[in-house]
Subunit: 191 residues, 4 copies
DNA sequence: CATGAATGAGGCTTCATTCAT
DNA sequence: CATGAATGAAGCCTCATTCAT
């Protein structure tokens, strides 16, 4: 009796290999091998290589997006607190789901793929959640008002992704990154 | 007599198609077609599809890195001014070289490719230039001192790239993006 | 249900076409066609065109080399008998494996190919077996002693290959060739 | 002013490279490079790669064949002397024209090429010359009569080629090879 | 459910040959 | 005579996907 279902093993194998080697440099055969199943079996659980890849991305992105939406709807928090929560949320997700994050980054940077347009859709949803928080903060005077909420939301999410560059520094201590981002976004770097 | 050399036409065709369709979804045949030359001609000027792609990336990255390095060596500017110049430099490069930027982003997010490690090297060079400026600013009291220079450099470059997400908003007016970034990085968003 | 496995059919097709047209003038597509399988199937069974070619050569050469080695180790035969056996062995192999012999000849005469050095290795093994027999014959006075054993071995094997030139005379009656070689090698042609 | 004509330089370059790398692994560009001329120039002197290759083979083969024919027509020599002369002729040719010999061997073992049939024709001419000598020797009682002259001629020429295996022993001292062949062919190896 | 042999479209690359200069 | 940029046919190989068992 195996510990995990074949489907689960396939997903785990896919995450590992896609993150390591990228979408195009990972073959269905390799994934099946890594999961310990036959190549044909992949097609019983997933209709295509693309669906397998995209399914993983979506599961991760929706997880984050749902938490983002919930955060935006909180009533007993200031906007600053919510933004801080959002940043912590992302960083902790990056920490746990390093491989899926890498996949998502590749996904976001691969024009010409079917999933390229779809990932942008997901990004827009995230931006909307954050923008909502920002607008509140601007309306109640917590945040500076001379910035477009959506653009700021885009900046914050982009900065998080940009700062978390797992390939450069192998940041094991991502807590530091969190603090860095919070500090800059809230206080700037000028004395 | 044609206006541009075949080599130049090939490069332009490659930039256009790689940016639009991604590296793997663009065939050498398409590039040749777009450039109006025979397939074999590509190999007269470039030793492989990869070299063609990577050559374009490098030309762009070195351009920016050289300017970055020069900026870091300026003597008659404050650190803040230098950082502002760097941000303007990037944004103006993004504006002109939209397609090459897209290619670079794909390149940076494609593990398993030969150029993946090389692009990281280029990124490190850029980070070093920016970190040098930051250190100066911290030493002369312009910038807050409780942040690691290299991490901050990584954040700034990452934030620029993250904020400039041409696929989301088709930001024609990138000047706004510049101002946004400057404002946040220097002053933060809290009132 | 087909009579032979696809792998076997591929090998037979390859032998036929390689012998007829040579290595470089035979395409993988032709071999697949001749075998009645798809082009891709070739690569399910063989890792490359070269491996397919070389595998056939080796199977034949090892067959002969093994018999040669066994012959060399016989105790109840004179050297002359052994040499006769060796010649008969080759000629009967040539008779049956005409096509593989042709392939081997091409292989041996194609510098610059990866298998060129390897076939020489196989040839050396064969020479050693024959030289061993010759030395015995020289030691016990059966054979003339003023000839280097290895050179003589090389001559004998070379003469067999040279005499058996299937492209010149389409010798169906190879028995005659056997007798010819035996006569000359043992007794010479002078009255 | 260059020492040799371009045509001559091309031929020498071709001989060197064809012998070293084989016909299919040598490109026209390499030959032009080695000769220090432009690729297009090759086609001013030779109509095709094949013609360049074949021209070299023929020049060598005809040289030998002419000498062979002359030898056959000598009146003041015994058959044995003529055969000895033939063998010496070949070995000395092998010594001088190592590279052309290699090319000829490849040529003879490359079915599917246009020159494959032509080289057989040349071989037949050589055999006829030798067979003529043998017949004379058999008629005047010098040589054993129970062997077909043509088959013996084929054997002798084949044995010479087989014995002279430049790739195995790097025989610098080809004189020894000559003696070996003479000894065996005339006297055999049995005591 | 699972397998893995089989498929075939399509990609990258090589290279003999041509031809305008 | 000579050049070398340009061509395009053709080859080897990969791999997502299918399907009979």
């Amino acid at each position: 009796m195996e510990e995990k279902s074949k489907k689960e093993r396939l997903i785990q194998a896919a995450i590992k290999l896609f993150a390591q080697q990228g979408y195009h440099n990972t073959t269905v055969a390799e994934i099946a091998d890594e999961a310990g199943v036959a190549k044909g079996t992949v097609y019983w659980y997933f209709s295509s290589k693309e669906e397998l890849f995209w399914g993983i991305i979506v599961s991760g992105a929706e997880l984050v997006n749902n938490k983002l939406a919930k955060e935006a709807e909180q009533n007993n928090k200031t906007a600053v607190e919510k933004i801080e929560a959002i940043i912590r949320l992302h960083i902790s997700y990056f920490k746990k789901g390093k491989n899926i994050v890498k996949m998502t980054q590749e996904c976001s940077a691969s024009p010409g793929e079917n999933f390229y347009k779809e990932i942008q859709q997901l990004r827009k949803v995230a931006i909307n959640s954050v923008a909502k928080i920002i607008k509140e903060g601007q309306e109640n005077g917590e945040l500076v008002a001379d910035i477009q909420a959506k653009e700021l939301a885009n900046f914050i999410l982009g900065a998080i992704g940009g700062a978390y560059n797992p390939s450069i520094y192998e940041l094991e201590d991502v807590e530091e990154t969190t603090d860095l981002i919070l500090k800059i976004i809230f206080k700037g770097i000028k004395v």
